[in-house]
């Protein structure tokens, strides 16, 4: 198994871990968004979605543990890359310009990533590690998003997430070597589209709930 460790320790190995875990999160975002869209159906639909999801029992726990493992890898490897890349240029340039390859997404990856990490912790404290006795998940969500500053924090975090995904999606394909002149423009396009869907899809929910409950 030594070869696995050697492969993952290399620059490309670390990138591969980021790509694979990142793509898995893209899959999670899709499922999570589809589920959350039930909020637009009102209290009963959303509560019934949550009930159906939690009736899966141990499957949910396994899913959560897998997500946790992916998150730990993505964050730790990401921070390692951030540190190593910062160290690779001890003397910085006096004048910095973009040559034309960078995008807002690519240039802010570590920062949007850290915003997302802080947000995920907040988000779990809001809706996961919360006392659910005597009130439904809809009431918890409605209660949280009745406060304007919560809505603002969520919208900002979702925008950071969309920017992160706008680079992360195509970047993951490039890293696993899936580059083909026929499909790369499509992958890039799908990445931008996906980031817009994530941004608008998740971003509209707190605003909708705020408007609906106040």
């Amino acid at each position: 198994m030594n070869w696995v460790v050697n492969a993952l320790k290399a620059a490309i190995g670390k990138k591969l871990m980021m790509a694979v875990t990142g793509l898995a999160f893209c899959g999670f975002l899709t499922v999570h968004l589809i589920g959350n869209l039930t909020l637009y159906g009102g209290r009963d639909l959303f509560n019934s979605y949550a009930e159906h999801l939690h009736s899966l029992g141990p499957l949910v726990t396994v899913f959560e543990l897998v997500l946790l493992a992916l998150a730990i890898v993505h964050v730790l490897v990401g921070l390692t890359l951030f540190y190593e890349n910062w160290r690779a240029r001890p003397v910085r340039y006096c004048m910095n310009k973009w040559a034309g390859g960078r995008t807002i997404g690519s240039a802010t990856m570590p920062y949007t990533g850290l915003i997302l990490l802080a947000f995920v912790i907040l988000h779990l404290m809001n809706f996961h590690f919360v006392d659910k006795t005597g009130r439904t998940i809809f009431e918890i969500v409605a209660g949280a998003f009745a406060q304007p500053w919560y809505v603002a924090v969520y919208v900002v975090a979702v925008i950071a997430g969309a920017i992160h995904v706008s680079h992360g999606f195509w970047s993951a394909f490039q890293t696993v070597g899936a580059s083909h002149p026929k499909y790369m423009p499509l992958i890039r396009g799908v990445g931008i589209l996906f980031s817009l869907i994530v941004g608008i899809g998740f971003g509209a929910i707190p605003i909708y709930v705020y408007v609906a409950v106040t």
């Binding site: 290399a10 490309i12 160290r87 690779a88 240029r89 003397v91 006096c94 040559a99 990856m109 490039q174």
Partner: protein, 254 residues
């Protein structure tokens, strides 16, 4: 009809690898717009020498964009702001009268500054030594067309082989990564049948050496591709990733 312009140069001056450097300001008066950037520095150096000052040290050789010796970061752009050109192919006509130009050496932990704008790029030689070659036994020349190679493959290999090893990719990369250089070498050798037998060993030892030398990690910023004077595509980095993954998964030597 040749025109002359007056410029202000801010050039990185550093006496030696361990010395502290700083930006120094020099007036560059009456510079012909027909000059190349390097010829402009020649003129400034003549004037500095006449004033009894140390001329600006910079690397150069062929001055026609094929040797890979020259290179400096001009106003934040590796090889200057023009696309697909080396510093020696950058002409002063791209600047305007009164401009201030900041000139800095390539910046990377793996490329130590030797003096002023001259950096030590022997890290690239180290990477080549790790696997950037084909071990062919010399003998009688093979018959022409004995090994059929599709035109597209030959063209893709040739595009990668256009790399002159100047180091602009590392200089332009926000992470000082050498992946475009290594990707170009792995592609140009690995695409051709003569390079296949050693492909798995090559990609692994070149990537390992690259990591040891202290280059950063690729984050797919694509700045290298935009700065490369030979316009080498980042599809070569994808190919490098693919070759690496393939070698690690399937080669018995990993």
């Amino acid at each position: 009809m040749s025109k002359t312009i007056n410029l202000t140069l801010k050039v990185w001056r550093q006496e030696g690898p361990e010395k502290k450097g700083r930006l120094e300001t020099y007036p560059a008066k009456e510079i012909s717009t027909d000059m190349s950037f390097l010829e402009m520095i020649d003129v400034i150096n003549d004037r500095l020498t006449l004033d009894g000052k140390e001329p600006i040290a910079f690397d150069h050789d062929c001055r026609e964009g094929i040797c890979g010796m020259c290179g400096a970061v001009v106003n934040g752009h590796a090889h200057g702001p023009e696309k697909g050109t080396t510093l020696c192919q950058l002409h002063m006509r791209h600047f305007s009268d009164g401009d201030t130009i900041v000139v800095e050496p390539w910046r990377a932990r793996a490329f130590k500054v030797i003096k002023d704008l001259v950096v030590d790029r022997s890290a690239f030689d180290e990477i080549i030594r790790a696997g950037g070659y084909i071990s062919a036994n010399t003998g009688g020349a093979p018959d022409g067309n004995a090994i059929p190679i599709p035109k597209e493959v030959a063209d893709t290999a040739m595009d990668a082989a256009a790399c002159i090893g100047c180091g602009a990719c590392v200089a332009a990369c926000p992470n000082a990564s050498a992946m475009l250089f290594v990707g170009a070498k792995v592609s140009h050798l690995g695409l051709l049948p003569q390079g296949r037998p050693e492909a798995a060993r090559r990609v692994q030892s070149m990537v390992d050496r690259m990591d040891e030398l202290g280059f950063g990690n690729c984050t797919n910023e694509a700045e290298c591709e935009a700065a490369c004077p030979k316009e080498i595509s980042i599809t070569n980095i994808a190919r490098l990733n693919r070759e690496f993954l393939k070698a690690k998964l399937f080669s018995p030597h990993s």
